[in-house]
């Protein structure tokens, strides 16, 4: 395998960038600013304000009392949303980030408060979501003594953060916080944790922290989409090789991942696809980067992808991966996946190159600049035979189905919901069958409208994410919270339904669709296919009355057994003020199809035979 790697990450000068990391905020401070003596807690809150943070999610406790006191005093600058559980708070901060592209912030106390964040931090890590988690800890004098509510959250979160800190000296705090945001949102985004012992929150430090808007310009610049950049000769030769591969390709396919959204490069990807006449398939994380209605978009690829997309990936002679990482769920059997194809990999993270599959050419760096430059190297081309092949496949394969064909199926439920939403509506999911059904069937038209735990697959993600997305969208558009839909399952919803309390206290207009089949449907699907229908611990035998539960929380809810009941319920839900839950009773044997069994190939694909031809939407 030829292996040429070009690197031109905008932050690709780590030595020089890192050399300045101990100089707290000097470049964001105007010379005229006066030094001011502040507590650590004040430094934290003012740093958040300086970072343009308008909302934080969290839960108070003994070791963050000083921080919460400052939040109280600065409540006109920063809204704080208290959740029912720290996990809900971290998923909300994550959902906020996914919906807005801004860095989400979560605060928790030491010990159990901090450990309750771990699943949410790992969720953000696997999906490269910018997040800053701030935890309190016991005073430095009590660290290491197994003090009350002490835990080494720094040690615990090393594997699940992009970077993390414990700040033992207050003078390090301004620099660490500025750096935490920089690390979280630069390059490939990710979560950063900052642990601040209680005595550091109380300690005084004199500095000239700019927190009242002087660095607006700097924040704007950091968020600006970078369009052009200069390349080294090594990089230029990689571009040449990529251009040759594209020129000689007859069946090019762009495999578009979540990195496209992180780089806000959607339009560049579409322009590039138009220029080289390529088809586009999306990973679950890249799903909203290309409008579902775009003629080049074949839909989701991978284990539960659309048959059209899976077949096109299989027939392609060149895969151009853009901001995607060839996860096992996206590729299936890697030997089969790579057979008879060339690969170009465009990513901002050099470590993704040759991690999961070996590629022919790698272009590492800013996606917009890379696509711009690559496009300029290439004459436009047409692949008429390829487009004809795709058009034929489009007529033959639809793919998404549930194996049984009752009218009250996930597909029809999703369709009924979509009739009442618009392109900007935020759709969140939990994890399992309902998540795949939504990914397959909901027609996403706008970037960042789909909040789902793609990499970690975190059941219980949805409630927090929906709340964070709803609040984020409202703040970003400076408008009242808009209808936000959560698709969940009875299993997933059971994990964090306590956040109904938060949705009520915040009066968030969530429409919660529980696809209730009384079983852990995805695990059951695997048990029925691969474990001879031995349903070990997946039949829940619960008697939870979800509408009554919603009412107990102060929300509204009802049950739907049929499409007509659902339509009535949806009309009510979409005109309700606060959260509204609809308990949709579906069959326990509905499946997610197509399915390529784990490690399998397209030849092992299970499809829904009836979902073909005229049934294709």
């Amino acid at each position: 395998v030829m292996n040429e790697v070009a690197t031109h990450a905008p932050e690709a000068n780590p030595a020089s960038a890192k050399a300045e990391q101990n100089c707290p905020t000097t470049d964001s401070v105007s010379d005229a600013a006066q030094k001011e003596t502040m507590t650590g807690a004040q430094i934290i809150v003012r740093s958040l304000i300086a970072q343009k943070v308008d909302v934080v999610f969290g839960y108070p406790g003994g070791q963050v009392l000083d921080l919460y006191d400052e939040l109280y005093l600065h409540s006109k600058h920063i809204q704080h949303v208290i959740t029912a559980h720290e996990q809900g708070a971290v998923h909300a901060a994550d959902g906020f980030a996914r919906a807005t592209g801004k860095t989400g912030v979560v605060i928790a106390t030491s010990g159990p408060g901090a450990t309750n964040l771990v699943t949410g931090i790992a969720t953000a890590q696997l999906d490269s979501i910018p997040l800053v988690a701030i935890t309190g800890n016991v005073a430095t004098t009590l660290l290491g003594k197994d003090s009350f509510q002490e835990t080494d959250i720094f040690g615990i979160t090393i594997p699940v953060t992009k970077h993390n800190y414990i700040v033992k000296n207050v003078e390090d705090l301004p620099g660490v916080l500025a750096e935490a945001f920089e690390v979280a949102q630069s390059g490939r985004p990710g979560p950063v944790l900052v642990d601040v012992p209680r005595d550091v929150q109380k300690a005084l430090f004199s500095c000239n922290l700019d927190w009242q808007g002087e660095n607006d310009q700097k924040v704007e610049n950091a968020l600006q989409v970078k369009g052009s950049i200069s390349f080294s000769s090594g990089e230029i030769s990689s571009f040449k090789k990529a251009a040759e591969l594209i020129a000689s390709s007859k069946r090019p396919l762009i495999y578009c991942g979540g990195g496209t959204l992180a780089a806000a490069a959607q339009q560049h990807v579409i322009d590039f696809a138009d220029h080289i006449d390529a088809a586009i398939g999306c990973t679950i994380m890249g799903l909203t980067a290309i409008p579902a209605s775009h003629p080049r978009n074949l839909g989701m690829t991978g284990m539960h992808g659309r048959e059209l997309a899976i077949r096109a990936v299989d027939s392609a002679d060149l895969i151009i991966a853009i901001g995607a990482r060839f996860s096992d769920r996206a590729t299936g059997n890697k030997e089969h996946f790579t057979q008879g194809k060339s690969f170009i990999h465009i990513d901002i993270d050099p470590a993704e190159i040759d991690k999961n599959i070996l590629v022919d050419v790698a272009l590492v760096g800013d996606m917009n600049a890379t696509l711009n430059y690559l496009l300029a190297q290439l004459p436009g081309k047409q692949n008429a035979a390829w487009q004809k092949e795709i058009a034929e496949m489009r007529n033959s394969f639809c793919g998404a189905g549930t194996s049984r064909h009752a009218s009250f199926s996930a597909k029809n439920i999703i369709k009924a919901v979509q009739e009442r939403t618009d392109a900007e509506t935020i759709i969140a999911t939990d994890v399992g069958q309902h998540q795949m059904w939504v990914a397959q069937n909901y027609q996403f038209e706008k970037p960042r409208t789909f909040l789902t735990s793609g990499g970690l697959g975190t059941m219980g993600f949805g409630m927090g994410a929906a709340m964070g997305g709803c609040i984020g969208k409202s703040l970003a558009t400076n408008s009242a919270p808009k209808k936000t839909v959560l698709f969940t399952g009875d299993g997933s919803f059971g994990m964090n339904l306590n956040e109904m309390a938060t949705a009520v206290s915040q009066n968030l207009p969530l429409v919660i669709i529980v696809m209730n089949n009384g079983v852990l449907g995805m695990v059951r699907q695997w048990q029925s296919l691969f474990y001879d229908e031995r349903y070990s611990q997946t039949t829940l035998s619960r008697a939870t009355d979800f509408p009554a539960l919603a009412q107990a929380f102060g929300a509204n809810g009802c049950k739907a057994h049929t499409l007509s009941e659902l339509n009535v319920a949806l009309d009510e839900a979409f005109s309700a003020q606060g959260p509204y839950l609809i308990d949709c009773v579906i069959n326990e044997d509905d499946r997610v199809l197509p399915m390529i069994p784990p490690g399998g190939t397209i030849n092992d694909m299970l499809v829904d035979e009836e979902e073909k031809g005229e049934n294709c939407g």
Binding site: P14, A15, K18, F154, G155, I158, P159, K162, H163, I166, V183, D349, P350, A351, I353, D354, K355, L358
Partner: protein, 164 residues
């Protein structure tokens, strides 16, 4: 692709927690660590590590790239074995008797090692050499009886005027 020995030099910020970030990366990514040596450089803010591992070229590339992503890692480079000077420091305490004493001394001299402590029944030697040299010393010592060993792990610099 065959597995081979990998020697990597790493410059890092000399801060608490850096070693943890590095060792955790090796655990998480299932990279092997044969040895890891760390010490301050001429600049107190920067430490240098020598990490030895085993794997094929793809693993070697992944180790370098994944290490480079760590925030406190300033520079990473593979030091190819044929372009490296590699040494390991070892302390080894052996049993001696009146009968074996002179043979042990002879062995220590043959390896150009140093006696740094001795009693009527023990000899402690300080051995510095290539890792394989130290392996051979350990093998040879077994005949006399080893009480304990303290090996520091491989340290490596590029030959000639190449540096990290």
């Amino acid at each position: 692709v065959a597995d081979s020995k990998i020697i990597i030099g790493v410059l890092v910020n000399n801060k608490p927690g850096v070693l943890m970030h590095i060792t955790e990366l090796f655990t998480k990514r299932c990279f092997n660590i044969d040895s890891l040596v760390v010490g301050m450089t001429e600049k107190p803010a920067i430490s240098r590590m020598t990490i030895t591992s085993i794997g094929d070229v793809q693993i070697e590339n992944q180790i370098v790239k994944q290490l480079s992503k760590l925030h406190d890692v300033l520079h990473v480079a593979v030091i190819p074995e044929n372009k490296a000077t590699v040494r390991e420091h070892m302390l080894i305490k052996m049993e001696v008797t009146a009968e074996t004493s002179s043979a042990v001394t002879e062995m220590i001299n043959a390896f150009a090692a140093k006696v740094i402590d001795f009693t009527a029944s023990t000899v402690t030697a300080e051995v510095t050499g290539e890792v394989e040299n130290n392996d051979r010393f350990v093998e040879a010592s077994k005949e006399y009886g080893i009480i304990e060993i303290c090996r520091a792990g491989a340290q490596a610099l590029h030959r000639g005027n190449t540096s990290l």
